[in-house]
Symmetry: C2
Subunit: 317 residues, 2 copies
């Protein structure tokens, strides 16, 4: 077991909805934490709220290197590569994590920049349809799942540091390997986005009369379609292979219901199956992993296997 300071320094690169919320939650939890925003106006907005955010990447990362901070990358996938170039140049030995919605493409970029030794992928499962610093808040991760990577070679101290940050932000940790994470979120995050967009367009095809009659089922079913289109693309498109599998499943299910309705006037198996799978989600039991300590024999493989079975980490002490 690795011993380390409970509240080591945190450097957040990108202070939008997720990164900004990490910064706020970390500061509230007692961390020394500061951040970078690429726009001077964005940095100013955070500073006027009392947070130490600058648009000077050199200074921000210089401080991270000097303080041996945990660097948290909070920019969307398309901005990852230039950000990693800066990290490699200015703070190559820091522990490194991210809060991006896909894990395998980020890990590939991290390894491309030879920053893999201290990298641990992360993904807090929380958000709103709003974006930017103004939408961020310190409570965003309360009671949320936070995926933390357990791919082979993960450094135990870096892992512990990332997991501790997640717990101190109010989340619980779901240990998961990058490829498995990406397949999972394709189904429970990226597919919901694409279906919400589909419903918004197909619903509006009924004109103002249809939209004027719309109630809860349409409102909730299209809620995430209010997310900025650029952000939806940045979230979903990098997960192409896994999302294609999920889309093909959805198309098959929907097509079968359509064909059954056309042929026999009934929607078929889909309705019962949907009801029981929603009930499964509603009653899903999460159990606490208490017997695996980072650095123990086979800890990564054991955490990964526990995570697959619904295990979560709620404390590191």
């Amino acid at each position: 077991m690795v011993i380390l300071d409970r509240k080591s320094a945190i450097c957040v690169l990108g202070t939008g909805l997720i990164g900004g919320s990490v910064l706020r939650a970390a500061v509230r939890a007692g961390y020394e934490a500061w951040g970078y925003n690429r726009s001077a106006a964005g940095a100013r907005a955070a500073r006027s709220d009392g947070f130490d955010v600058s648009d000077d990447i050199e200074a921000v990362l210089g401080r991270a290197a000097a303080a041996d901070a945990l660097i948290v990358i909070g920019v969307p996938m398309p901005a990852i590569d230039p950000m990693l170039s800066e990290v490699k140049l200015r703070a190559p030995h820091c522990d490194l994590t991210d809060v991006v919605s896909v894990k395998a493409p980020v890990a590939a970029a991290v390894h491309h920049h030879e920053l893999g030794a201290r990298y641990v992928g992360g993904h807090p499962m929380a958000g709103t349809t709003e974006s930017g610093w103004a939408a961020s808040g310190p409570d965003l991760f309360q009671g949320a799942a936070w995926a933390v990577g357990v791919d082979p070679g993960t450094h135990a101290q870096a892992w512990t540091r990332v997991a501790r940050l997640a717990l101190d932000c109010g989340a619980y940790v779901v240990p998961v390997a990058a490829a498995e994470h990406d397949r999972a979120v394709a189904r429970i995050s990226h597919l919901p986005h694409v279906l919400a967009e589909t419903l918004a367009v197909a619903g509006a095809g009924g004109g103002d009369l249809a939209l004027g009659l719309a109630a809860g089922s349409f409102r909730d079913g299209t809620r995430v379609a209010a997310t900025a289109a650029e952000l939806v693309r940045a979230i979903c498109e990098p997960n192409e292979a896994a999302l294609l599998e999920a889309l093909d499943d959805a198309l098959r299910l929907l097509g079968a219901a359509r064909d059954s309705l056309a042929a026999q006037g009934v929607l078929g198996e889909l309705i019962d199956a949907g009801y029981s799978q929603r009930a499964r989600y509603d009653t899903l039991q999460r159990w606490e992993i208490t017997d695996i300590r980072p650095g123990d024999q086979d800890w990564l493989e054991r955490l990964r296997e526990a995570g697959q079975r619904g295990g979560v980490v709620r404390t590191l002490d």
Copy 2:
């Protein structure tokens, strides 16, 4: 303009979620109102809450005939036909409406039973995933749209009575012809149900790991899949033709996004279109119809045309 008592008697047949909520709201609004439930236990539950509900259809409809009540049919589509037989037998001259989720099939059944003279279709656009009397409440229709039929031949006094009940329950009235109603709700109510079932099944295909990572987008996107399967079928399947059109639209949109992702790695036009149509829904303006009085020249056609353009009725005085 027809003059009638503001609060004439109301007889609700079927005191589940919607019918029960109509009964509660009508009583609270000062109507003399009573109801029928096919099960003795269901009737007893309503009586123990202080409402006049019986499982004796003969007595309930006899009272309706004697009091010249407005009869509100609140049973699902599969139970409509036997209920209309009872109405035809025991109270054939009463004004008649319903709260069923499709309108053309109900209208056809009503005409088949020769009860069309005083029939006005209705559909309050509100609900929960719960069902039955226990889930009903007098506030369910507050601020909701309530579709009221304006098909040719509709009787002005019956229409006014149904519209007044809707307003007194806290809703506003959307005047709409049966076939147009059914095409609209296929897109904003029935399609959302089928997509929610699809998402529940495709999401759960990722196993407990995926369900354990699921957050708001999956939770909201599958919410209505928690509705009892039998009820979902009763709501959607009678609207076969219109639902098929909506499903084909959804399949086409989803298939195009899938193919674009496979070929070019991008989801294509769907994301921008979904964002702008959700924004259209969020900013939809409803305007108040004030210059058309039931019984006026061409009132049905004028109300229908106004409803198509987003007009609603908020008062009858």
